[in-house]
Symmetry: C2
Subunit: 204 residues, 2 copies
Amino acid sequence: MRFNSKSGKFLEEAIMQFSSLPGIGRKTALRFALHLLRRPENEVENFANAILSLKKDTKFCSVCHNISDSDLCNICADKTRDFSKICIVEGIHDVIALEATSQYNGLYHVLGGVISPMEGISPSDLNIASLFSRLDEGNVQEVIFALPATMEGDTTNYFINRKIENKNIEVTILARGVAIGDELQYTDEITLGQSIINRKPFEK
Amino acid sequence: MRFNSKSGKFLEEAIMQFSSLPGIGRKTALRFALHLLRRPENEVENFANAILSLKKDTKFCSVCHNISDSDLCNICADKTRDFSKICIVEGIHDVIALEATSQYNGLYHVLGGVISPMEGISPSDLNIASLFSRLDEGNVQEVIFALPATMEGDTTNYFINRKIENKNIEVTILARGVAIGDELQYTDEITLGQSIINRKPFEK
């Protein structure tokens, strides 16, 4: 749909901005804009201010690079967490996903990406030096790899593991296998192959 | 996913705002927020300002109630349009959809809704009085009903038609029938029934 000249420049600008969001086309962007037009002015102001604040006021934790309101994120500042475990993740969304499971009580380290020669991302582009500094402090007993199950994720795991294998730190990785609720016939061959190789004693 | 306490109040506020948009849940809202976090500050400012402008600076046409940058919308101000035709639509999105077809050169009248006793929307809640004023000026020769093909749309058509049937104005309605690209077996019975009743001479 084209509606530049007919529908006014303010609507057009809002549509352009909304359609820059991931997965949003012009039709959905138009729907968002018309939705906001129908809402009271103070609500729309709050909407715009939340976006401004998000960018201006959000900080990143100086220890683990997670999103934070202050110098130290809520996880690193939480004395009840297990400081002997560091879970290495690609991004903030992974911290959120793992926290939502309520199954992990250790700390995190957000790399900000994974090593990818194809995309020109080398270890120096990631938060890896600060990871080694944390490990050098000597309190960490376990490093958990929770990077994507892709070639780039595996490459990054290998790179980090090589640097720390002489440090007497236990290194673990998230279990890979058939997802809960999945049917075997629809599980890809590599995952299924890994899951039979890594089969576990059945718990009664 | 719950991540209020862990991920910072600015992120949480942005997620809350984005998830107030139609069809957007918390996961997609999080994706939008993290996407904006990665963009440069000036781009995020432009985004927020576009939303503010949309609400503050957008006007509505004093004649047809379409969205506008000034007192008169681009369609009502366009001397090349056919001022003898008025197409009656529910909302701005309908003007945009019809304009996108490039098949209509008349004017519009945006009702801002349809009559719905169930939702307590009566004719006085809609831009109907201003429609009759326009018709009273005597220049209009055709009124085209382009309201939704629902009971409420039909009710609104009947209401308007009763008020203007003595005015010597031709009243038409959008053709209803099998949509282009649709297969008959998947077309609902009422639409298919209407399309056989209203069948047209085949054009070679």
